[in-house]
Amino acid sequence: MDRIETKAQRLVALCMLGFLLFNYPILALFNQAGAVLGIPVLYAYIFAGWALVIALMALVVERGGS
């Protein structure tokens, strides 16, 4: 039961992290001209952040088994 609880709380935290990353004001910081490796800053930021959140969710869910 404990592990299920921990997992749940970590996932909620990740959801909140995602909400923070993909909303005002953090999002506004990246809403500017310029490019990272040829990709506009805003696009690069959103996709990288998205991939990061997914990777963290995979880590939380897969570690500690089913």
Partner: protein, 918 residues
């Protein structure tokens, strides 16, 4: 060449392949070897979320808004992180109660209310119609465009076509047929459609591959990679602004947030998502992988959206080509026929997947939650008396599928051209978001009532209708446009797009804000103002406390029933064979066999039948049917509360019981340990006894032997006689010593020894003992040196006992020294609050293994057979006990061949130690 017949043939071949997959999966399911019982298939089936709207529409929106389309996929990514809490609970509730659809879920939660189920169904059907029409539009326009190849002509420019020549109509009819084949071939009590799920998973794969293929082609084939596309876009003044678009085209951050929230709700409450996530779920544990695989799928299908959007804008003259079709028209413009065909099939996958699952989910709702409760109540139809209703059920569902698709087509004809794809989809999202308060509140808040849910839904849906659907109809000129510009009857405050003067927001944000306020407000207010009925109270507790697992709903039923009646009810809806199987399974679960053994039609059995029935026709209809077949007494609210209280008391009791048994277990473990210890002590005592008797027997034997010799031979010579008597005396002394030491040890170990503790100066003790033993040293030719400091602190101890210890160490040392060559060194020192005595000899030393046991009872070091040293084997043991009694330590250091040093310490007397000057 891409002639019409090639496209049509390819499409049908593809649909045929899908059907083959579905057929195979159904066969496997019947054999009990499911192909969809895998977290990967489950995750892929969730991707039915990505429809033609994603496939064509994302690019369309990106071409005008930049990143504006992303919240639709970011939202579900965030929501799915909460699934571990929310969806696991919904899954469990649905499994336990055999929920068949979203409407069934809500109806069941609020007291199995048929009215509520019907309202949810109506909202779902009306809300989803635009979305279905969107899929039809996507398929028909992509077909129309592809047929024009190599020309690229937008369907709008071809002018209106009569209904009977409209591709969309035929698409709708073909899809209806296909859905009927998929979803309603037979009636499943659990509403599982394994074949459909397998086909959907396959379609998810196809649409992803098709989209990635066109993405790679545009990004790397037409342009020189991501950097190139974006660099060229930045060079165009019109497109450059879209690279940092949030303040500009995509509107405010508010609409970004609301779009995120909207799609968070959509991923849970779209009927098709509920169908694949909840109803078709085979195993709760599949959620684990889906939680990250499904977001990964969404990430993958969105990577190339922006390059394709910019690529299309750069490629075509402004306004020449609809951005919604870039995915298809870029490959066509580049003369990539096969790729264009693949894209068309990908889009077809996305659209058919959505339409099939959505219409199956909706037709289940229409049948179970809208029509059946009405038909069953109409006494004129006498449905209660029909022997077999399975045909009727299937008929209703098939009819519902055709009807829904034709309604979707009508919406397409009515309003289809007025909006881009994304806007149409969002209207449906906003409609299903209205289910959120009733469902989420329902699984966490026990006091929510049926009336609250009903009013919340009606209010939210009303606002949705007024602020989103009416404007859509008005823009298509089915209603006067003045309604939008001046409000109804000229009342500006009621303008559908700026209700109560709330202007400056985009349409979806505006509608979401007002509908959520109305929905949640009514839901909470009405729930709090009223109180739940007995039925609602019972269902609330079953839903909210589902993880406490309290025996299910059987305990809430009271009445009389007969087994044949129950069988009839079940057979009417499931067919006679399935009813037999269900009865047999129930009997097997209770160690009986049916129909050989009598079954008792008790509460548990009635509940079982009702749950089985709910799996086929929904909770509300099942309630009506069972109530008609048995005589039941209604429970009052107080009785329900009582049962619930009992249940919670049982929980408390069992919790206490568990605590008690835990304590008991701990006590048992302690007792067991104590017992082990006692056994060990007992064994030690036995060992001790046998050793002592053995040690006593040795001297006794020799005493007896020599005495007998003397007794039998009076004429033994004097010298011989003296020698014998000498041995007897020595052995007697040894016996005495042994007995004394055993008694001594027994006293010390039992704590009955008398200790005369006084202040003792160890220097005096050492000097005295050495003096006392000087004769022994001389006899054995041992040289003794003493290194004594000027003075040492006094210790508190028993003087005689300390002398005993020292004597023991010294006589041991003497014993092991070679006569004539022995050297013993006694040293006295003081540090760390202890006075330390070392006795070192130059004897043979002690092996490291022996050093560990030399202080044990009866351990004599050395070869005991040939070279038995005189002694009892108790001396060192007793000495150590004495030293430890005074708070000191005793140990030995030795290297074989280099002598041994026995040392002990005694703590300094406290008062003296403190009084000493620093």
């Amino acid at each position: 060449m891409l002639q019409g017949w090639v496209i049509v043939l390819t499409s049908f071949a593809y649909l045929g392949l899908l059907f083959a997959i579905a057929y195979y999966a159904d066969q496997r399911a019947d054999q009990g070897r499911s192909v969809i019982a895998s977290p990967y298939i489950y995750s892929l089936s969730l991707a039915v979320y990505a429809t033609a709207w994603t496939f064509y529409g994302s690019v369309g929106r990106a071409a005008s808004d930049g990143v504006g389309f992303l919240p639709i996929y970011l939202g579900p990514t965030l929501m799915i992180a909460l699934w571990w809490i929310v969806m696991r609970k919904i899954l469990r509730i649905s499994k336990v109660n055999r929920i068949t659809s979203l409407a069934d879920f809500i109806a069941s939660r609020y007291g199995k209310s048929a009215l509520l189920g019907g309202v949810v169904t109506v909202i779902a059907v009306i809300g989803i119609l635009p979305y279905i029409s969107l899929q039809l539009k996507a398929v028909s326009s992509s077909f129309t465009i592809l047929v024009q190849y190599p020309e690229i002509i937008m369907p709008a420019k071809l002018g209106a076509v009569p209904v009977l020549q409209d591709t969309a109509l035929y698409v709708a009819l073909i899809l209806a047929l296909f859905t009927i084949l998929f979803g309603t071939r037979h009636l499943d009590a659990a509403e599982h459609h394994e074949g459909m799920v397998a086909a959907i998973a396959f379609e998810s794969l196809v649409k992803l591959l098709a989209f990635l293929a066109v993405g790679v082609f545009v990004t790397f084939g037409v342009y020189g990679g991501f950097g190139d596309v974006f660099a060229r876009a930045a060079a165009e003044p019109q497109l450059a602004a879209m690279l940092t678009p949030l303040e500009g085209v995509a509107g405010s951050y508010a609409s970004w947030v609301w779009l995120t929230i909207l799609s968070m709700l959509a991923i849970m409450f779209l009927p098709r998502q509920f169908q694949v996530t909840v109803i078709e779920n085979k195993d709760e544990r599949h959620l684990n992988k889906a939680i990250w695989l499904f977001p990964l799928y969404m990430l993958a299908i969105n990577i190339f959206v922006l390059p394709i959007a910019f690529g299309g804008r750069l490629h075509f003259a402004p306004g020449a080509v609809d951005a919604d079709t870039f995915v298809l028209t870029i490959p066509m413009a580049e003369k990539q026929e096969l790729l264009a065909l693949l894209v068309f099939i990908g889009g077809l996958s996305a659209a058919t997947g959505m339409v099939i699952v959505e219409t199956i989910a909706l037709s289940t709702m229409v049948c179970n939650d809208l029509l059946m409760p009405i038909l069953l109540r109409l006494r004129r139809l006498r449905l209660n008396e029909q022997p077999d209703l399975t045909g009727l059920l299937l008929g209703i569902r098939r009819g519902a599928i055709v009807l829904i698709l034709l309604l979707g087509y009508s919406y397409f004809r009515l309003a289809g051209e007025a909006y881009a794809l994304v806007s149409i989809g969002l209207i449906s999202f906003a409609a299903v978001a209205q289910f959120a308060p009733a469902v989420l509140g329902g699984i966490f808040w026990k006091n929510a009532t049926r009336r609250g849910a009903l009013w919340g839904l009606v209010a939210g849906f009303g606002v949705w209708f007024y602020t989103l659907l009416l404007p859509a109809l008005a823009r298509s000129d089915w209603l006067p446009r003045s309604l939008l510009e001046h409000g109804p009857f000229g009342v500006e405050l009621l303008k559908p797009l700026a209700l109560f003067g709330l202007a400056g927001l985009d349409q979806i944000t505006h509608a979401m804000i007002w509908s959520m306020i109305a929905n949640v407000g009514a839901y909470v207010a009405v729930s709090l103002l009223g109180s739940p009925s007995a039925d609602e109270h019972r269902q609330a507790s079953l839903f909210v406390d589902v993880f406490r697992g309290e025996g299910g709903g059987a305990r809430f039923w009271r009445g009389t029933a007969s087994v044949p009646d129950l069988h009839n009810v079940l057979a009417r809806f499931l067919g006679s064979g399935a009813a037999d199987a269900a009865f047999a399974e129930y009997a097997r679960g209770r160690g009986r066999s049916w129909p050989n053994d009598e079954l008792e039609a008790d509460a548990e059995f009635v509940h079982y039948v009702e749950t089985q029935l709910a799996g086929a026709i929904g909770a509300a209809s099942a309630r009506i049917m069972v109530a008609s077949a048995v005589k039941e007494e209604a429970l009052t609210l107080d009785e329900v509360r009582e049962i619930l209280d009992e249940a919670s008391q049982v929980v408390v009791y069992s919790h206490r019981l568990e605590q008690k048994s835990n304590e008991l277990e701990a006590a048992t473990a302690e007792l067991r340990a104590a017992n082990e210890q006692l056994k060990e002590l007992d064994r030690l005592k036995d060992d001790f006894m046998s050793t002592v008797t053995h040690e006593l027997r040795t001297p006794l034997t020799s005493i007896r032997a020599f005495s007998e010799i003397l007794l039998a031979n009076p004429d033994v010579e004097l010298a011989e006689r003296k020698r014998f008597l000498g041995i007897i005396t020595r052995e007697t002394e040894r016996l005495t010593r042994l007995i004394n030491q055993v008694l001594d040890l027994a006293k010390i170990e039992s704590g009955r020894a008398e200790w005369h503790v006084t202040r003792v100066d160890l220097k005096e003790v050492v000097a005295e003992t050495l003096a006392g033993m000087s004769q022994v040293f001389k006899e054995r030719g041992v040289e003794v040196t003493a290194r004594l400091p000027e003075r040492v602190s006094a210790v508190r101890a028993d003087l005689d006992r300390l002398i005993q210890v020292l004597l023991n160490l010294l006589s041991n040392a003497v014993k092991f020294c070679e006569p004539g060559k022995g050297r013993i060194e006694v040293a006295l020192s003081e540090h760390g609050g202890h006075v330390r005595v070392d006795v070192a000899d130059n004897g043979p030393g002690i092996n490291p293994e022996d050093q560990k046991v030399v202080f044990d009872k009866f351990r004599q070091v050395g070869d005991t057979l040939t070279d038995k040293p005189p002694g009892t084997g108790l001396g060192l043991h007793i000495s150590r006990q004495i030293v430890e009694h005074f708070g000191g330590r005793m140990w030995v250091e030795s290297r074989p061949g280099a002598g041994a040093t026995f040392s002990f310490t005694v703590p300094v007397e406290l008062a003296r130690a403190e009084a000493q000057p620093a």
